[in-house]
């Protein structure tokens, strides 16, 4: 360690690679923390965890007993075990007794991306509520037609404040905080929507995963989705080779133009009018919408490509915006290249994944490791080879959500056993770094 610092000082190691080395070393020593604990006041299983995006200081958790709690993960509320174990109790808790609180389980609780003054919760009681953090009051209420499975706000948004809500209903709804109404609905899925994520490279692009197994990319400025991911469209490697990409583009164009002559199946990537619709012979399909004239943007609703053989239960866009990870109820995790829309065929060794609830995945910043809740353990996979690096066993029941704080390299996981566990890089207790706060009575917030 000191040798590396010396190397950094002398200029032999560049600053970024030094930081990455330290971070990956700490990541490899992650284990159940023996010096930090989060005391969870929840009486139901924990469905959602998120650390705020601005300071990575406050952890927001939503549980099945309609309670929401916020914890300060950097400053402990009290110490135990002779000052060695830091206990973090909740800063505040909102539960069913609150006059405007949720009545049923909360499936998703997220921070307002700009600051921690607001947070948004979505619940099985069909409501999405926006709360003021300081007064713990409901500021806005949006009624949805079904149970809300996931809510998401774009971390990059500079010109809109839309909350994307995925519900049991087949349409994705965008709720606008500025106007207080549901401003847009996106149709295309054929079953409920379990996961919603905003793209990390553009504030207008939304990715949704449905119970029908499809993953759709939406540009909210237009109607209809512009891409449906198909698991049979694959590429061998992280990015497609340059030459091959040209061939596939020309194929899709020619298939679109002369669909009667060439027997090749047309590429289903773009909402291309000529490719998808063929004259039906004999049988009329069950939906019966082929004869209808559709808006060109809505033709993608005909595209029935699936990304998974079951429901899509988890989605995560990597922070560089280039790759998308999806977990499905067919117990497969797939890595997709966002730009080409293809399956990179990385095989993540999972045996079983939870099928009934959406799960929350987490990735490290330079996407090196992905954390996936697999039943009662959380597994960390190397993102490019799919091999299991680490397994975190600590929960007594199924794990639903995990959240990685890249600043401190800490992993927070919540599960059906009502506990939030903290996984930290190992540290020697004799370091005595935290022995100070026992005597230090001041608690200035910086």
């Amino acid at each position: 360690m000191w040798k590396e610092i010396g190397g950094r000082e002398a200029g032999q190691i560049r600053p970024n690679s030094f930081a990455n080395r330290v971070k990956s070393h700490r990541l490899s020593t992650l284990q159940l923390s023996n010096y930090k604990e989060i005391v969870s006041p929840h009486k139901g299983s924990i469905n959602s965890l998120q650390v705020d995006l601005t300071e990575e200081r406050y952890l927001l958790s939503g549980a099945s007993d309609s309670s929401v709690a916020v914890y300060d993960v950097q400053r402990a509320t009290d110490y135990e075990g002779g000052g060695h174990i830091a206990k973090h109790r909740s800063v505040f808790v909102v539960d069913k007794q609150h006059e405007h609180g949720h009545k049923y389980a909360i499936s998703s609780a997220i921070w307002y991306p700009v600051d921690t003054g607001l947070f948004v919760t979505g619940s099985y009681d069909h409501y999405v509520k926006v709360w003021d953090t300081n007064c713990t009051r409901v500021v806005m209420n949006f009624k949805m037609p079904g149970k809300v499975y996931r809510t998401a706000m774009s971390p990059l948004a500079a010109s809109h404040m839309l909350i994307a809500a995925g519900t049991e209903d087949v349409q994705v709804r965008l709720c606008d905080i500025a106007s207080g109404a549901i401003s847009q609905t996106l149709s295309g899925h054929r079953d409920g929507i379990m996961t919603v994520e905003w793209s990390t490279s553009s504030e207008w692009i939304l990715v949704t995963g449905g119970c029908d197994g499809a993953i759709r990319f939406w540009d909210i400025r237009r109607a209809g989705c512009f891409r449906v991911l198909d698991q049979s469209q694959s590429q061998l490697g992280r990015r497609p080779p340059l030459l091959k990409r040209k061939v596939s583009i020309s194929k899709s164009l020619s298939a679109g133009q002369n669909s009667s002559v060439k027997p090749r199946a047309p590429q289903k990537k773009s909402a291309n009018g000529n490719g998808v619709r063929q004259s039906s012979v004999g049988r009329i399909p069950a939906k019966g919408s082929v004869r209808q004239r559709l808006h060109p943007g809505m033709l993608s609703s005909q595209d029935r490509a699936t990304a998974h053989y079951g429901a899509v239960t988890g989605l995560k866009v990597t922070e560089n915006g280039m790759y998308l990870l999806s977990a499905g109820s067919d117990s497969r995790i797939r890595l997709w290249d966002v730009e080409s829309g293809r399956n990179t065929l990385v095989n993540f060794e999972t045996v079983r994944l939870q099928t009934s609830k959406p799960i929350q995945l987490a990735t490290t910043q330079d996407p090196a490791v992905v954390f996936v809740p697999c039943m009662t353990a959380v597994k960390a996979f190397d993102i490019w080879s799919g091999k299991t690096c680490l397994t975190f066993r600590g929960h007594y029941e199924y794990v639903n959500c995990c959240c990685f704080s890249s600043q401190d390299q800490e992993l927070y996981t919540g599960g059906n056993d009502r506990q939030i566990l903290v996984w930290c890089p190992s540290r020697h207790i004799s370091d005595g770094v935290d022995a100070g706060p026992m005597q230090d009575q001041d608690n200035w917030s910086d």
Binding site: G213, S232, S234, L236, G237, P263, R264, A265, Q278, S280, V281, G282, R283, P285, A286, R304, T306, Y309, G310, D330, S331, R332, L345, V346, N347, E349, T350, V351, R352, C374, M375, T376, A377, S385, G386
Partner: protein, 270 residues
């Protein structure tokens, strides 16, 4: 495995000779020990060897197929398996079929074997004096060649078959009756390619899997030496133990542990 630290030089030579004789006799048998042949270096090598080791089933005439989970247990890197399978599929060396026995089960068959299997089915139908048999030829030349995925949509199938002649509902019903196309619960509008005459084998597959898992579950520590487990005979499955073991290890239900006395197979706890 050999404890010959205290013996003098003549004894190890004797033991080695004995082992050589044993190895020769075992290789001259048809059955090679699974323990020594669990992993291969390359997907194509693994596929060819497993095709050769496919058990002979009496009542059903079926060409050898390999399950994708068997490949995962035979080659160390799963991503490499997936990518090599994809490139072999694109080169039309083999075809992948989605089975309906449980989640994410896929069967792989070499293309020549599959075409042979279709031939057998067509011959049997000819004997029964079926009409409209030209649809099988259309299917082989147009659909199989251009559709490399395991499924095909209804409209696409009709358009591909209509290139040659007029396609009617009876043609598609014939394909389904022959067992070449099936429908699954996932999508009402989608046909899935299937291997004809495979039904009884798939039933044996599920029953064999259950039998092995329940057998190991009943044991005290839920584990057994691979060398001993291999020799057991399955009551409910026409496929042999080695086939099932590769499949269960690859799908993650069983795991192998290296011990000083050999490989031990254990039920995995996740």
């Amino acid at each position: 495995m050999k404890n010959d630290t205290n013996s003098d030089s003549s004894k190890p030579k004797k033991r080695r000779r004995d082992e050589e004789i044993e190895a020769e006799s075992s290789s001259s048998d048809r059955t090679l020990s699974l323990e020594e042949n669990l992993t291969f270096s390359d997907t194509l090598v693994a596929l060819r060897i497993m095709r050769a080791q496919f058990p002979h089933i009496d009542k059903v005439s079926i060409r050898p197929f390999i399950l994708q989970s068997q490949l995962y247990s035979s080659v160390n890197d799963r991503t490499q398996v997936d990518r090599e399978l994809e490139s072999l599929r694109r080169e039309r060396v083999l075809r992948v079929f989605k089975l309906n026995t449980g989640q994410d089960d896929h069967a792989i068959m070499f293309l020549d074997d599959y075409l042979n299997q279709i031939e057998c089915v067509v011959k049997r139908m000819e004997e029964k004096k079926q009409v409209n048999l030209e649809v099988f030829e259309w299917f082989q030349t147009h659909v199989l060649d251009s559709k490399l995925e395991p499924s095909v949509g209804h409209e696409e199938l009709c358009s591909l078959l209509s290139i040659v002649g007029k396609v009617k509902d009876e043609h598609i019903s014939l394909l389904i009756n022959a067992g070449i196309l099936t429908r699954q619960l996932i999508d009402p509008d989608m046909y899935w390619f299937a291997i004809p005459n495979i039904g009884s084998v798939l039933k044996g597959l599920s029953q064999g899997r259950k039998e092995i898992i329940s057998f190991l579950n009943r044991r005290k520590y839920k584990e057994m030496m691979l060398a001993l487990l291999e020799k057991k005979h399955l009551r409910f499955s026409p496929l042999d133990m080695r086939f099932h073991l590769r499949d269960l290890i690859g799908s993650g239900h069983l795991k192998t542990i290296h011990t000083p006395t050999g490989l031990v197979v254990q039920i995995s706890k996740d």
